[in-house]
C-alpha cells in the first residue's frame, strides 16, 4: 500500500499533529518505507488464528466498588497548563 502525501495529511489531522511541509514530505517517504516493510505480514497464513491482544491470558480482573479519597482539587489542577480555581481551561469548545 503506497503512502501518499494526502494520506499522511489526513492521518496527521486524525493524530492531531501539525506537520510542517518538510516534515510532511519526510514522513510520507519514511512511512512508505516502514509500511512497505510491515506489508510482509500479508505473507503469513493466519487462517483460523485468534488475534492476541494481550501478552497474558487472564480474565475477570475486578476491583470492589468502594469509594476512596480523590485528589484535592488544587493538586488535581497542579499540572494544568491553564486553569482557574475551579477547572482546566482550554480554547473555546464551540457550541454543538
Amino acid at each position: 500500500m503506497a503512502i501518499t502525501r494526502e494520506t499522511v495529511e489526513k492521518v496527521a489531522l486524525l493524530a492531531r499533529l501539525k506537520l510542517s511541509e518538510t516534515e510532511l514530505e519526510k514522513m510520507t517517504e519514511q512511512m512508505g518505507q516502514i509500511v512497505g516493510y510491515v506489508d510482509q505480514l500479508s505473507e503469513v497464513d493466519t487462517e483460523g488464528v485468534e488475534p492476541m491482544a494481550h501478552a497474558v491470558e487472564v480474565t475477570n480482573v475486578f476491583a470492589e466498588d468502594v469509594v476512596a479519597e480523590s485528589l484535592p482539587r488544587e493538586q488535581a489542577l497542579s499540572n494544568a497548563p491553564s486553569s482557574n480555581e475551579r477547572g482546566y481551561l482550554v480554547p473555546a469548545v464551540l457550541g454543538d
Binding site: 500500500m1 503512502i3 494520506t7 499522511v8 492521518v11 496527521a12 489531522l13 486524525l14 493524530a15 492531531r16 499533529l17 501539525k18 506537520l19 516534515e23 514522513m27 519514511q30 512511512m31 518505507q33 516502514i34 509500511v35 516493510y37 510491515v38 506489508d39 510482509q40 505480514l41 500479508s42 505473507e43 503469513v44 493466519t46 488464528v49 485468534e50 488475534p51 492476541m52 491482544a53 494481550h54 501478552a55 497474558v56 487472564v58 480482573v61 476491583a63 485528589l71 493538586q75 488535581a76 497542579s78 499540572n79 494544568a80 497548563p81 491553564s82 482546566y88 482550554v90 480554547p91 473555546a92 469548545v93 464551540l94
Partner: protein
Amino acid sequence: MSLLDRSACQLLADLKAGEISSVELTQASLDRIEAADEKVGAFLQQSGRAALAAAEQIDVRRAAGEQLGILAGLPVAVKDVLCDSTTTTTCASKMLANFRPPYDSTVVAKLRSADAVLVGRTNMDEFAMGGSTENSAVQLTRNPWDLQRAPGGSSGGAAACVAAGMVPLSIGTDTGGSIRQPAGLCGVVGMKPTYGRVSRYGLVAFASSLDQVGPLARTAEDVALLLEAIAGHDPRDSTSLEEATPAYSQSVSKPLENMRIGVVKEQFATGLNSEVETAVRDAIAVYESLGATVKEVELPHSKYGVAAYYVIAPSEASSNLARYDGAHYGHRTDQAEMMAELEAERKQLSESGDQRGLDNLDTPLIRMYRRSRAEGFGPEVKRRIMLGTYALSAGYYDAYYLKALKVRRLIRQDYDKAFEDVDLIAGPVTASPAFKLGEMVDDPLAMYLVDLYTVSANLAGLPGLSMPCGFSEAGLPIGLQLQAPPLKEQRLLKAAHMYQQTTDWHTRRPPET
C-alpha cells in the same frame, strides 16, 4: 578499588556487617556520577540531597536494629518513565518537561519500601521509543565503552550508569528490547521479566501490551535481588499476574541441572556480525561445558516479529499518547501565537477565495492540540504516532493491526512448541556491537531492525535476559540473550549466574570513564 566496583550483593553484605554506611555508599555513587556523567550523560536528574537524607535515615534505622528492606541502603537509578511524586517524570520529552505526578508508580513505591536509595532519573529515548537514547529531547547518552557510540536504548541511561559504575542497580523498561539491547551494548546484565510479573502502574505507557519494567546490574545475582524487590501482583494493574514472587536472590546461586539449551538457526544467519556470532557460540559452548545439551529449535514466525511489532507498538502508542494534547497537563502551545497563526491563515484563505480551505480550517481547540503536540513531541514519537494512527484507521485495521495480532499469536505458539524441548533459548541480543552515535538517525527502518532478536519475547510476553559474553576487537561488549518460558525468570537468573561463575566478562570495566 572503589566501593562501586563491588556488586550490589557484596555491598549489601558490607552494609549489614557495618563495614560501610549507606551515606558513604550513596556519596560514592553521587561522586562518581559527578565525575563521570558529564561525559556519559546517563542522568537527567540526580537527587543528591534527598538521596543522602534517605541513606542517613536507613543508617539510623539500621543502627537502631530495625528490620530493613531487601535493598536497604543501596543506590538505585530509575529510568525517567516511572512516576515518582517527589520529582518530575519527563520521559525525556519536552511534552512532560515540567510534569510532576501526584502519585508514585508501584515500582518506585516498592523500591522505597525496600529501603533503596533513589539517586536519580536516567535518560532514555523519548517515551521509550528508540534503540539508541538519541531520541531523548534532553541530551545524548554515550556508551561508557566508547563515547562516540550509542549506549543503545531506550533504557540507554539505565544501562550506561551501571556500566560506568555510577550505581550498582538500575531500573529500566523493555517494550521491544529496551532493557536487553542497551544492557548488551553496554556490557551489563538486564532482564525483561514475564509480562505481568512487575506492575506497570505508574509506568508511562508506550505500548501497554508489551511494556515491562525490569532490573539492570552487573551480575545475575544483583539482577535477581532487584527483581525480587520490584516483582509482585498489583491490584492497580489489571494485567499484573497473581503469582507469588520467588526469592530470586536466594535461588539464583543454585545451579540448573540437565539444562537443555535451544538455538535458533535463523538467528545465526546472514546479517549477524561475525564477532558477535563467535562470542555467542563460545558462550553456548561454555554452557555445554557446564553439562548443558544444546538443541536446534525453530521459531519460524520470529522473522515477522519486527513487522508485527512495528504495527502493534505504534498502534498502542498512538492511543496511549493521545492524552498529551495540552489540555490537562504537559506542554501547551502559546495561545496568542496560535490565534495569530489561525487569523493569518484565515485571512489568506479568504483573500484567495478558498472556501474549502476556510471550511476545513482548524478550530482554535484543534489547532491548540495540533501545535502543542507538534511542539512537544520529537520526530520518532511523531513517526510512531502517525504509523499507529494509520494502522488503526478505517480500512487498514484488518490488514495491519488485526493481522499483526494474529502473527503475534503464531510467534507465541512457536515459543510454546520450542519450550517443549528446551529449557532456555540462547542467542544474540543484537546483530552488532554498539553503533556510532548519529549512524542511524535518518534511517528509522534500519534502527527498527536492530530489535530483530528482542521483540519476539515482548510479543510473546516471555522473560528474556541479556548479559555480557565477550568483547569485539574494538573493545565493545557483546551480549548473550537467554529466553525462557513465562514465569521462568529463576531459570534465566540461575543460568546467567552459572555463566558468570565460570567467566569474567562481567568483571571488565570500561576504560575511558
